[in-house]
Structure formats: C-alpha cells, structure tokens
Amino acid sequence: MSMSEYCDMFKAEANEHLQQLNHTLLELEQDNSNLENINIMFRAAHTLKGMAATMGYNKIAEVTHEMENLMDSIRNQEIDINSTIINVLFECLDQLEFGIENIETECDMDISAILLRLNEVSSSAEKHEHVAENVTCVSESIDLKEDDIKKCQSLCEDKDSSIFNVQVTLDETCLLKTARTGLVLRELDKMGTVVKTVPSQEDIDSGNIDNEINIVFVTANNENVVIEKISKVSEISNVKIDPLDLDNILAAEKTESMPSIPSTPTSTSKSMKNSMNEDNVKSVQSVRVSIERLDNLMNMVGELLINKSRLNQLAIELETKKLDETLASLDRLTNDIQVEVMDARMVQIDQVFNRFPRMVRDLSIEQKKKISFLTEGNEIELDRTVLDEIGDPLVHLLRNAVDHGIETPEERIAKNKTETGSLNLKASRLRNNVLIELQDDGRGIDPVKMRDVAIKKGLFERAQANDLSDREAMYLIFEPGFSAAEEVTDISGRGVGMDAVKNKIEDLGGSVELESVVEQGTTIRLKLPLTVAIIQSLLVNVGEETYAVPINNIVRDEVIEQDDIRSIKGEKVVNLRGEVLPLVDLHDVLSVPHNKENYRDNNNLLVVVVEKAGQHIGLIVDKLLGQQEVIIKTLDNKLLKNVKGFSGATILGNGNVALILDVPTLV
C-alpha cells in the first residue's frame, strides 16, 4: 500500500496533535496535579504513534511510544512528574516537530539522544516494577491433575462428548498474543468446555505465551468443526486437534515441552474516565479540504459574481422587467454561496496563537526574564490567506516585546514594578476587521531616545528631529533600517523587522498602530481585513479610467473647493474643519492621459479621504461610481515587477479590467 498520498494529511493532523501536546505540557508545567492533562498527553502521544507507525515513520513512532509509556507511568503514579521530565517532554516535542517538518528524511533522524533522556527520567524515577518483567521462563506441559480428569469424565458422561487436545499456533507476526488467545478460547467456549490450557490462564493473562497454546477441550462437536471455527480467528497459522484418551493419560502422562519466553512488559491501561469536551480534536462532522480547492471554489464564485453583475447590467440596458425576479433570486443565491465559501476559508486564529506560549516561555528563560503571557480571543476566525501571513510578523513583535520591552526581574524591582512582566496578545472582531493587540508593561518607547537614534543614524538634523512630534518620533521605529535597541542581540534589534512587519500587514490590506508610554509599556495594534480575496471597494473614475479603492482604506468622501487648496512645502493640502488634509491628485499620480479639466466641475473637487498609517490623505478623483464587491486578481507578471501602487486588478461588470489601488504604496 503506497502511503505517500497520505503524507500531507498525516503532517497536518500530526501537527495538530503536536500543538495540543505543547499546549497541554505548558499547562502541566504550571499545574502538574491535573490528571486530565496527563491523560490528554497520553492520548495524543498514543494517537500520534499509531499514525506514524501506519506511515512507516518509525523514529516518530518510537519517540511517541516512549513518551506514551512515560505518561502512562505518570498516570499510574509510578513516576512523579517534575521539571526535568517536563523539559525532556518539551525536547521530545521539538524532536517530533523536526521529524514531521522534515518527514522525507524522517528515517535519518537521530533520536538516540532523546530516547536516552527519556530512559533516564523514567528509570531514575521508577519505583514500582512491572509484574510482567519478573516472569521467568516457564516450561510447562499438559499435566492433567486429578481434578481436571474428573472434570473431563463428568463432562463426557453428561453429553455425548469427547476430549481433545487442541494445539493452536499463532502467526509469527501476532503482536497481542494474550488477546488473540482470548479470542481462540472464546470460540472454543462456544462449542464446549476448556478444561486446561498450557500455558496456564494466568500466564496467558500476563502475556507469558510463545506462539503455541495447548488446550484440553471437551466438546460434542466433531474435530473438523472445531478446526474450522478456530481457523476463522485471525492471525492463526495452524490448528492441530488430537483426541485424548483419558485412560492413556491416566496410564502415562503425555508430556510436551512447551518453551516459553517472557513477553515484553505491557502497560496496563485502566479505562480512563474522561471529562467531556476538553480535547481540541475536531469533530468528525468536518472534512479536510485542501486550501487549493477552496481557492478554486473562490475563483469560481468570483466568476459567478462577475457574470451576475453582467446580467444585471444587461437587464438594465435591455430595459426588461421580466428578468427582475430571477435576477433578484440569483443575487441572493450568489451572495449565499459567497458567504458560505468565505466561511469555509475561515480558520481560528488559535492556529497561529497556540505556538506562542511555548515560544515566549523559551525566550523568557533564555533572556532570564519573568513573563506572564496570556492570549485572548483565540477563537476569532480569519481567512486562511490572512492567517498564513500574520505568523511571522507576530513572532517578530513578540520577540521585540520580550527582548526590548520587558525588563529583567531586577530592573523591574528597582523600578517598583512587579517582578513578573505581563505580555498580552488579544484578538477581537471589529466590524469587517480583526484587531490584534499586543500589550506589554515594559520599558515603553522613549521619543527622546528615538530622536537621538534618528540623528545618530543621519536620518535627521537635530533641528528636524526636534520638529518631530512624540508620536512621529515613536513611529520612526517602522522606518526601514531603524533600530532603537542599544545592543544588538540574537533575537531581534537588528533594525530589520518593524518595517517588514508594517509592510506585511499593509500588504494584507491592514494597518499598524503604536501606542507607548515610557516605563509603562507599549501596545501595538494590528488591524487586519477578515479576508483578502474579495473586498468591498469604491469604484472611482479618474479621467476615463476606472479604479477600485478598498473600502478598508476609506474614511469618507468630501467635496472641496479648488480655491481652498494651499501649498505647504510644495505639497497640496486643504484645511477641512481644522484638519490639515494632504491632497494627492490621482490624475498626476497615475499619469492619466486625459485632460483633467474636461472632467472637473470648475471649482468643486471630489476627494476620497483614505487612511495610511494613521494619517488621513485626500485622493482627488473625478467621479464616484459606487460601492462594489470585487475579487482581487493578482498582477504577477515579470514585466510589472516595478509597478507599485496596486494590490491587484479586478474584472468589472462590463468585462473590463480595473486596477485596485494599494493606498500604502501608492501615496
């Protein structure tokens, strides 16, 4: 059976189990008395083992097998859980993660070190020995005691039965011999009475069986029936049946040597009482669909939307009322389908958040800091495409917070702060956006220091720097190549990062905001669209050309008077109710080849006010065409690699293509 086709599925599900293991282990580290957490870990390790073994990933199976044994010993209170064990378990998880990540070379993974560590912790703590380990080689033979013979005799008298010696040979590959033998005995019990077994029932129960079992059996059935029934049990390689003559037995005891080897110790897993719904394992009602398929579906929904708007337009052009009803229901249907498909693409943000507690733990240990890290809103859902992209930016922000934000315990005590710093990551829904907030109670960003660094880096003259507002000075952190860190560490502060974070978030159609008070802490807010594939946009005309402006970026629209436009430092601005609004004429920025005078009404100018990094900017356009949902199609062509200012293009109701403005890179 070729397993390669299951590889992706294996990886996806294995990662889920790993995440659960990580999550549970972190909880265990805080509170090691929670038995259910030990059970959860046992189950996850066990399930992972079964999956890995099925795929032939033996190294992973071996590690999880040992983990499972360790968890079992802890569960049975043979071993007390301690920080050493927790650390070893964390190492196991890292090893497993590595193995799953590099699954093609799983067989080359060196697990000797981790197995040794596991072995150390289980043996050093081991107090009780397994019963099965003490079982020695027992050589037995069919030895019918007087009681047994009497039993046989009475059985034979009651019914018209005869006595047989049944010899059953198990398959070499049979793994659970006790259970298999149990099945054989049950079959026999249905047909008659088992008088004696060799090895004995106790030996069978404790797993002390070779491949052969001898059974003295009284039955009214004939030999062939017995053979047939037993052969139907799986994993039986041979069944031999011989009639037993009681007189012969009484005369000379027939002995058969039955070598027997001790089996590997087995862990007795008592049935676990589970509390309900604590596991995060997904319900079976769901199926796994590749993101590619959802993307295809999404594209088709896009086509459907385009065709729908085309139909609408045609109906208007043809001035026919007959289509109205059908079109209305088509409208509803397409909207429903769109909502369903969008929903199907939604994934809980927990998928990204759940690896952070572990990361912050490791980082804080490395940095010798004490941090209490909390996440909130893990259940908030985001479109898959957005989710895939926000992991790295969040990692960077978290690292910055641990590295530069939160102080060492000594420093904090000296500042009269609590010894343990707090770091909170919170997601919440805000209309069509998801807000992710990262808050720390560390040093904060000092605008004075930021100005100094800016001057030192030659970005500004002293006078210019002093002109910057505190807010502007703090926002310098998002400038390329800017780093306020006094020392460069391994983790962050190389001056790359914050600008990359900002770019990434803005690429996704989101925005970044920063708030910080010196010595009180910093809050970074990421505002992200729920989805990127379909966006609400405002269609505008610039000259004869049509462009789509994402609604996410739009604050409002305004009509201003040409005469009110002022020029400050060569830039056009307008003073609107006390707000100085910088203006950008799209005719100029987009070098539209039409004469703008032909499209503009003397003195009045239409302005779409957009937001860029917390700043408002007015875009001068010629006509507002209305709001429309558009499907973003990428403009990935080598010839367009130098083109900036567009996040993609979309197809309009009339079949023409309109470019979608990307406000952050356009102005």
Binding site: T47, N69, L176, D279
Partner: protein, 130 residues
C-alpha cells in the same frame, strides 16, 4: 487456505463504520475498505459519537479505536453491545494494549487489529468476522 477463505467468504459489500480520533487513520482504513468494494457508512471521532452513529447507521461491522477523547473505545464497545448484542466490532489497538484488548474481547469484541495496519490484515479480519 487462508487465501481461499478470503476469496470464499468475501461479502460483496459490507456497511462499515470507522471510529478513530485521528482523521488520518480513518482515511487510511476507509481507503483500504472502499478500494476493496466495501461501503463506509459512518465515521466517528470518539466513543460517544460512535454510539450515536451506530444507532443511526446500523453497520455490519465497526472498526473501533481504543484510545480516544470523550469516551474510550472499550466503553463505547459496551454501549454498542448493549444496543445490539450481535454487533460486530473489531478493536483497533496498538502494541502494549494487551489487557485492554483482552477486556474488549471479554466484552464482546469480535476481533482486533494492531497498528500499523496493512490492507491484507484489515481485509482478512473483516472476512473472518463477517
């Protein structure tokens, strides 16, 4: 002889329920079964779910994993046997689950398979049980 049996007793199409908390494992078993002409009528991810689905779908055969959240396979087995004393349940176990499997057999499980599965084992067990 075994081979003859497999072919000889091959039911054309059996209705089967697969219970395992790993979707991956369900998929593997399901593929083995469906490729050999059987019909997977229900899948469940834990013991509780398995009991519900058993009532609904009345399968000819159940492949029942042991270690699962919410309700273990062994407990699910008891409930299934209560619902239907003729239920045919095959336990899906791993090395090291001897006593649990033995307990399951005492509680009415027809047979068991040991992970990792291979197709011939799964089909052999199935044909033996049905």
């Amino acid at each position: 002889m075994k081979n003859d049996q497999i072919q000889g007793t091959d039911k054309n199409m059996a209705d089967i329920m697969i219970v395992d908390d790993a979707a991956f494992m369900r998929m593997v078993i399901k593929d083995i079964l469906t490729k050999n002409g059987h019909n997977v009528v229900a899948e469940a991810g834990d013991g509780l779910d398995a009991i519900e689905k058993y009532k609904e779908s009345k399968p000819d055969l159940v492949f029942l994993d042991i270690v699962m959240p919410n309700m273990e396979g062994t407990d699910a087995l008891k409930s299934i046997m209560e619902i239907d004393e003729n239920a045919k349940v095959v336990m899906c176990s791993s090395i090291g689950q001897q006593s649990v499997v033995t307990e399951a057999i005492n509680n009415g499980a027809q047979d068991f398979i040991v992970k990792p599965f291979d197709a011939t084992k799964v089909l052999e067990v199935m044909n033996n049980v049905l």
